[in-house]
Symmetry: none
């Protein structure tokens, strides 16, 4: 079973507004085993909305419209859906009385234009709206459902919970859904796909989706079945086939981000962490401390942006910086060891590099990053060159640093 969601309103087509109703609806529909296959936002335009609804009806079991149920000329949802379905609209005195009573309760007369909200598409059931004037509408046609819901979330959500969910459950075959999210650091999407596609393409259930961000790949597995046990079996069986292909490149089996995984390992080991950041300027520590409770294992560290600070705060010898420069293996090592010693933490991670856009040299072009990880068993330094702009180089450096630490923590 699949659904399309259509949000109506020109205000949702401005540069700063997002349609958040569809996120809520997607969550609820997914829980019922219904996949959302298309979402559309249409301005207050009868013809465009009519054509969008027609296309949605041609390919979805459930079509949900949100917004555009108000009393003004701009509110085109009722008209557009009626036209798309080829149905009339009927005035309902009982709905009009309800709207009028609502106004009276607030000590105001009902404006004449509010009568528009008392029209129902032929064959529709009215859905009560205790939090606003616009009733919702539920229409069934040939096993398909069309829902008209008000735009304000505080009206839409209670209406959906109370009046739409029970109707949808009656309409839908019983289905359980189980998901698993594997995460992999610092592998290109194409390389991950090449390794695992021969496995996952053999199955349509579980369905597999691969999502890529800077230095971070998420593999979403999603199984459906009539029983929870069977859905669980399906998803776990596929995960068991995929995991050996990626081995220890997988850092998370439940969707947790890298900073949560590393924090969890440190907490288990009862060990502490410090940092010494140059080119990332606090980005690594910011990620680590974005996790609530990170004070259990993160003690602090040093921002040594200039060379002089590397010497003054971390004791990196001036001669070392003169000979090797600050973007070098010896500098990264001295920074990590200096931070570990000065904080007394079990672990220290250092990052030094050239984030760009300027500052590159022949020996250390823009994107060059050295990462030191010092721990109870000594210090190792990793060297990489990342491509992209300043933001991306810095993000990839923090991702690499966290992944190196994860591997050392075992």
């Amino acid at each position: 079973m699949n659904a399309e969601i259509v949000a109506v309103g020109s205000e949702l087509l401005t540069p700063r507004r997002s349609d958040t109703n569809s996120l809520y609806l997607t969550g609820r529909l997914n829980e019922l085993g219904v996949e959302v296959t298309t979402k559309t936002i249409v301005g207050d335009d009868r013809e465009r909305l009519r054509d969008t609804v027609r296309l949605a009806l041609s390919r979805a079991h459930i079509v949900i419209l949100t917004g555009g149920l108000g009393p003004t000329e701009d509110d085109v949802t009722r008209d557009a859906v009626a036209t798309a379905l080829g149905r009339n609209q009927l005035f309902r005195q009982d709905l009009c009385d309800g709207i009028e009573a609502r106004f009276r309760l607030r000590g105001r007369p009902m404006a004449e234009i509010n009568r528009r909200q008392a029209y129902l598409i032929e064959g529709a059931e009215a859905l009560p709206n205790p939090n606003g004037t616009a009733p919702g509408q539920w229409i069934e046609e040939q096993g398909r459902a069309v829902l008209l819901l008000p735009g304000p979330p505080n009206e839409l959500q209670p209406m959906f919970e109370e009046h739409c969910l029970p109707r949808l459950e009656r309409l839908l075959p019983k289905q359980a859904i189980r998901t698993r999210v594997l995460r992999v650091a610092n592998m290109p999407e194409s390389e991950v796909d090449q390794k695992i596609a021969p496995v996952y393409t053999r199955y349509t259930n579980p369905a597999t989706t691969i999502l890529a961000a800077a230095g971070d790949i998420q593999i979403h597995l999603r199984a459906r079945s009539g029983s929870v046990a069977e859905a669980t079996n399906l998803v776990e069986a596929l995960a068991a086939e995929i995991e050996p292909l990626l081995g220890d490149r997988i850092y998370s089996r439940n969707g947790d981000p890298l900073e949560v995984v590393v924090g969890g390992r440190l907490r288990e080991r009862g060990e502490t962490l410090s940092v010494a950041e140059s080119c990332t300027g606090g980005m690594l520590a910011e990620r680590i401390t974005s996790v609530a409770g990170s004070s259990d294992y993160f003690v602090g560290g040093f921002l040594v942006y200039g060379d002089r600070m590397k010497t003054a705060l971390l004791g990196v010898p001036e001669a070392l910086l003169r000979e090797h420069t600050a973007v070098s293996k010896p500098a990264a090592e001295a920074m990590a060891l200096g931070a570990r010693e000065r904080t007394g933490a079990a672990w220290a991670v250092s990052i030094t590099g050239v984030a760009g856009p300027s500052g590159g040299t022949e020996a250390a072009p823009v994107g060059t990053v050295f990462i030191g990880v010092a721990g109870p068993d000594g210090c190792r330094v990793h060297h990489a060159r990342h491509m992209g702009d300043r933001t991306r180089v810095r993000a990839l450096a923090t991702q690499t640093a966290l992944d190196l630490l994860r591997r050392r923590l075992g």
Copy 2:
């Protein structure tokens, strides 16, 4: 002129993901006088995408597709658009060579499946992508334009700025547009609006838009006219009316963010800056160093997450912490002074507080933040309580810290 935007990717149809590219594109298109009339998100499905593109082509002058240009079977945008337009796809050896060179630069072989990204729809111009493997495509048909752009924002935005804007400007009727962006820190949106609405509501040209983020309000003024001089006059006249109403709460008159404004003032004064961060854990320094060239004035600083580090790294007396706790005016002052002395920077900013969700006390509930600014003329401490979750409390603390420093820098 109107545009439709189609985002491609099943991952954008999950309950937690939003399509942010379309917000950026809408902003840029609006500046060109192009209205966005429909936005659609379609999963990785050839037929659905083909039908959506056909509907968009039937009613929009400009159709922009984002995402789905990757190398895997899931990446259906090229195929769907070619089918919707009834055109073939042609393999381009030069594009393939470019993709291969990109892999070589990173010391990796190109996977066979990446060859897919070297196919161009017949009649399309390839748009270079310096930040990724997928080239974009620009197609003109009967005065309409179809754009295929990569999904990652760091690839899409530079490509749009450099290669799409000039082509769109050539296609569109000539119109001069002049904008001005005023920015205000730490004022509620309603308060800003109450002050300036009596002025800006008198004009439809320039149009005024107010955008609100955590602790940051942007006021966008946008004038259109047949001549550049007239558009400039219109926008400057409105700005001159608004600015006195907000006075020194305005920190930027050209849209620059606070970290750029503060950096510019430090550079003008030839002075340096250091930080000492507790609850923000590097977020303040990360913002400061996100600006290219920030090494001119930012020297570094201290992450003193635990109390012990405040004493060990900054010399905050243990007795002071025992008596007043780490979230207190004396602690913030000692941190700022300690950082200034140890780094030798002209200025030092300290932040200590309770970001939550736990750790609050009666004296310092969650959201309490003390910010110290130490400079050549002494140290002052600011106390605030911010509402919201951990991320928001931390973001508001860095925003307040930067604005306090801006005011001290005069």
